[in-house]
Amino acid sequence: MHNTRPARITSPLISLSQGYVKLVPLGLLVGAIGIGMAFLFSAAASGGYRRFSFAYLTNFSFLLSISLGCLFFVIVQHLTKAAWGVTVRRIAEIFAMCTLPLAVLFLPILIPVVRGSTDLYPWNVANWARDNSPLLQVKFDYLKWYWFAARWAAYFAIWGFFAWNFLGKSLKQDETGDTKLTLKMQASSTWMMIIFAATLVFASFDLEMSLSPLWFSTMFPVYFFAGGVLGGLAAMTLTALLLQRSGRITDEITVDQYHDLAKLMFGFTFFWGYIAFSQFLLIWYANIPEETFWYRFRFWDAAWAKASWALLIFHLIIPFLGLMARTVRRNKTYLLFATIYLLCIHWYDHFWIVMPQYGSGIHGEPIDGAGGFPFSWAIDFPCAIGMVGLYVALFAWIAGDRPLVPKQDPRLGESLNHVNP
């Protein structure tokens, strides 16, 4: 074929290099200031540490779901022997690797639970099931603080191992060019995908669904997954765009890679909507009190009802229409805006999942003085900025001086010549 690009790296700059030196301290500084502000303003407000816990959990879930979405992307790339995404895979690998340091950021959630706090999780008291719903004794046996801690240790160990497996082997291949590493990663991606799915299901139960422990929804893990992959894809695309704007890996990621990433974002936007609606429809139609109370608060409270409709419009309809056309998927300026928008709305999705539990009891009844739409510019906004700052520092720290594209991947040539028909 004519016009074939050779399978080698041509960009002059393919690592963070100097940027790494700047980004890590900057991110840590923003993180310290943002989280510190959120903590202080929470302490000053009526909510106290409980309010801060909810803001923190929202942002932690947001970042964890992005990392898990990127881990999913890496595994699925190997599972399908995909060639198109080789040049963007390293960014996903680094984001996936962030799951391991995120374990440290999980401590502010875990330590209070271990110490018996019910700020976040109302199940964390003795005889919780007996007092609220004896039928849920089995759930209560599952939701013990020591099981909770053990499960989270296992999740982070498994995800960290998976991410390290892919990132480590890929980095090794950069130096040796050994194609057997690709085959090894392909082989391990099969069973890793199964374990990944299982851990993600239970992690979503533990992290967000157990905030209202009386609620039942088997669809929730899929909902969490759909949003997470969308967030992961948006974070990858945004990172690639920003790296290219700063003069890095300019030749390797072409408009066709962006086109495919945008197609995936479009697909997962609708997949998210499909799952969100499936979860809602079954509960709405069956009309069983054990399930409806979760939505009842979100549609019954006047402020939250508007917030729920906003989620439908801004998380489904607008991105669905906005990412539909081919021309906009291939427009980098537009994609820069679209990915920032998607990350914001994905953050809002987690806010919508987590925050109503702050203002309602375990049966979905409003708590006096804590009702209404609780977004606070003094607490949630600095918390989000600070956490994202920490996340950027983590990314920069892991990326370091390492190449941001797999230099010797056997499918690099195919990826460089990838063309969307």
């Binding site: 074929m1 004519h2 609606f277 429809l281 009309n287 539909m324 081919r326 063309v419 028909p421």
Partner: protein, 476 residues
């Protein structure tokens, strides 16, 4: 090309015309290069043929991107509106004069557009978009084509195997037979050939036209049949798909004995003319023994007076007698005042206390209250004063002559208050005066619970309402 078709050629006009020039290439790169040069040379009406999809050939040919996605989007959105309108029409619009929808509440869900409509809408969007894609592709590609002159060229068969072709149409503004052939040679064509179209037999056969017209008329049949069926009634029996389920070989309670003879000489299966058999003499169904007169009938054993009328000759069980026994005595003259004597002539000795195994307890009274409010309060009222809703309504109707009604008795009436509990139980079981029997609806234990509750009500000291109280005589 062979033009030796058997049909007679038309008297005038040429037998064939050249529609283009075909060039053969031996590899895809030459084809793409030739396409680029044809595009640059200003040709617009030309096409490339390859055994497999060649990436990048579309821009090489200067083909603009397809408009199919916009077509699909438009049809998909139309499908969305059609699906919503269809559901709204069928489920929420029952006021249209002709072909009304059917407002049918399901699980209390709203009739109007609701989340329940979304799955159908979603499916219709998918279906209409899929059809739009498939048939839109046909339309944009001018398919189906039943014949293509290229298929008459032997060389062209290798377009599905290992050769690559480029054809420039003769009606292209830049086409010139000699110059184009020269360009093909320059671009590295390995073979060049004229493409001719056979102009004989251009007419559509008459049979196809006829079949088309008939088909169009046949398409009208279903809507006409539907319209006709909509406005007509039909007395024909409905179709029985499973006849032995519709007509089962069995007889039901209270049916007459089947006639197994003829109409003129009937022979009945059973001589007594009943389809069902009575229990064998001397037997009793499980749970129907009910020997205990105190518990099941409310009087002291052996105090039942002899019946006024003889009962059936085939042997009567005690329960059968008691059903009609006491109630049959309603017409007995009230010679003695039962309120003072406590005696009810012609009736057995009613028991004064609840019989075992019934146990008086708070639970039993609560149960009696609940059952009383279900079965009794509609006439006797919640407080037993005879002012239940049915009674009120019936009295209102009776006042205008629209109904006949015996006023429901106040349970606080002195004549009722003195009655032994056994007699109240009997009234509930078998009815009295115009009150019907409740034996069939209410189990024995619940009847005792109600009787107990009535006694408890009477102890509350409520006075009989003046208006609602019935005339004192001649009833008990």
């Amino acid at each position: 090309m062979a033009h030796s078709h058997s049909k007679q050629p038309k008297p005038a006009g040429p037998k064939s015309k050249t529609i283009g020039l075909l060039a053969q290439f031996d590899d895809p790169d030459s084809l793409v290069a030739a396409c680029e040069r044809a595009r640059d040379a200003g040709y617009e009406k030309f096409d490339a043929y390859s055994p497999f999809p060649v990436h990048g050939i579309d821009p090489a040919m200067g083909i603009r991107r397809t408009r199919l996605p916009f077509f699909v989007l438009a049809i998909g959105l139309t499908g969305c509106l059609v699906a919503l309108a269809m559901q709204y029409y069928t489920n929420a619009m029952d006021w249209t004069k002709i072909f009304p929808g059917y407002a049918f509440y399901i699980s209390g869900k709203p009739l109007e557009i609701s989340p329940a409509n979304i799955p159908v809408t979603f499916e219709v969007i998918i279906l209409s978009s899929a059809f739009a894609t498939f048939f839109g592709m046909w339309i944009f590609n001018r398919l189906p084509q039943f014949a293509n002159p290229l298929h008459r060229i032997d060389r062209f068969r290798r377009a599905t195997n290992d050769r690559f072709f480029l054809m420039v149409n003769a009606d292209d503004s830049k086409y010139d037979a000699n110059r184009t052939r020269q360009q093909f040679e320059e671009w590295g064509a390995t073979a060049i050939e004229n493409v001719d179209m056979d102009l004989t037999d251009q007419e559509i056969p008459k049979f196809f036209k006829l079949a088309g017209i008939v088909g169009l008329f046949l398409l009208l049949v279903p809507p006409v049949m539907i319209f006709r069926a909509y406005g007509s009634t039909n007395r024909a029996p409905r179709l029985h798909v499973v006849p032995d389920m519709d007509w089962q070989d069995k007889y039901k309670a209270q049916q007459t004995s089947p006639n197994i003879g003829t109409d003129k000489e009937p022979v009945y299966l059973y001589a007594d003319d009943r389809a069902m058999r009575a229990p064998v003499a001397g037997t009793i169904a499980r749970g129907d023994l009910q020997e205990d007169d105190r518990y099941y009938r409310g009087y002291e054993p052996g105090t039942l007076p002899p019946p006024a009328q003889p009962v059936a000759a085939d042997g009567s069980s005690a329960s059968f007698v008691s059903t009609s026994g006491p109630s049959a005595q309603d017409s007995a003259p009230a010679a003695q005042d039962p309120a003072t004597t406590g005696q009810y002539p012609g009736e057995p000795d009613w028991i004064e206390t609840v019989p075992s195994p019934f146990v008086v307890s708070e639970t039993a009274i609560a149960r009696g209250k609940q059952r009383f409010e279900i079965y009794c309060s509609v006439c006797h009222g919640y407080d037993g004063n005879g002012n239940g809703l049915v009674n009120k309504r019936a009295l209102a109707l009776a006042a205008t002559g629209q109904a006949q009604w015996t006023t429901a008795k106040s349970l606080h009436d002195p004549t009722v208050k003195v009655q032994p509990i056994g007699r109240i139980f009997d009234t509930i079981s078998n009815g009295r005066n115009s009150m019907g029997p409740y034996k069939a609806q209410i189990p024995v234990e619940d009847r005792w619970a109600i009787a107990l509750y009535v006694k408890a009500l009477q102890e509350t000291g409520i006075q009989p309402a003046a208006g609602a109280a019935p005339p004192a005589a001649p009833q008990q």
